[in-house]
Symmetry: C2
Subunit: 174 residues, 2 copies
């Protein structure tokens, strides 16, 4: 399959509801534990997704679509959520993510992006020139990456409990 | 965290709804494509989950809890879904999975399993002795494994579209 704006939005609009369905009212043990030192809990991942809505995806799209002579993106802080969310309950983060994503999809739709716009470019601080279609594709894959990560972090809480079946469960071996 | 029946059910009861939220009314391109030769589509994975509800998890729990002298499990056919589901729309499979899982959770709850029962054993055809708690833990991790797999299969449909960002997206590298 090839990139399509509508098919991208199909994923982007589902992600917050998928996470809500997975995580609402679930025991803290599933969401506050990590995969080990220097890794994220489910709670940390939701914070990271919120920060992306605020500072990464649509702000970068706006830079690409702007008339600015310098279209270099700001760097994205992968650790901002540790300060930003201190003390907030998970459900508050989920609600925040749902609202921010909804607004960003409305904003994205409001641009009425044709192929001409999707081929416009910005400057990524590490990679150089990237297109708007690549940015939106990455937004989609980034969502799916974090759904997979959340599933893995939760699965690992039972690593000791599955006994010999660990041999069949690839998710516990990564 | 350690194994707990209630926390296991928290995951088991959410999985069909998570998949429904992810996949209902989504374009076929996301669910009928695979990761490459000899790999499964999202559609194939849902069929595999249905077959597990019918022949694997609770039937094996019943063997463990039975008075039979021989508690050897039947082998599980990982490819049965290719024949069983021919021609069925994805939504029909999702509905079937939701119903089967609901019934299996009711059946599991009806057993009122105390620790004594959770330590009872069956014979796995490859591993030998396994406990009921290990079987239920594996059921949970197996769900999460397939949610992660579905996310990965979908993400890979955009492997060519993310451009240089592929370097940051681990899910595209596995």
């Amino acid at each position: 399959m090839n990139f399509s704006l509508e098919k991208s939005i199909e994923i982007l609009e589902r992600t917050p509801l998928v996470l809500q369905t997975m995580l609402q009212n679930i025991s803290d043990d599933w969401t506050s534990n990590t995969e080990g030192e220097e890794t994220w809990s489910v709670y940390d991942v939701i914070g990271h997704l919120i920060y992306g809505e605020k500072t990464d995806w649509m702000p970068r799209a706006e830079i690409i679509l702007s008339d600015k002579p310098d279209k270099t993106f700001e760097s994205f802080d992968r650790f901002a959520q540790f300060e930003e969310n201190k003390g907030k309950p998970l459900q508050e983060l989920l609600n925040e993510f749902i609202l921010l994503r909804q607004k960003n999809i409305e904003l994205l739709r409001s641009k009425k992006l044709t192929n001409k716009y999707l081929e416009q470019k910005g400057i990524h601080p590490a990679f150089g020139e990237v297109t708007l279609a690549q940015l939106i594709s990455t937004w989609v894959v980034h969502d799916l990456n974090h759904i997979a990560q959340i599933s893995r972090v939760m699965a690992k809480q039972y690593k000791q409990d599955v006994g010999p079946w660990i041999a069949y469960l690839k998710i516990l071996q990564s």
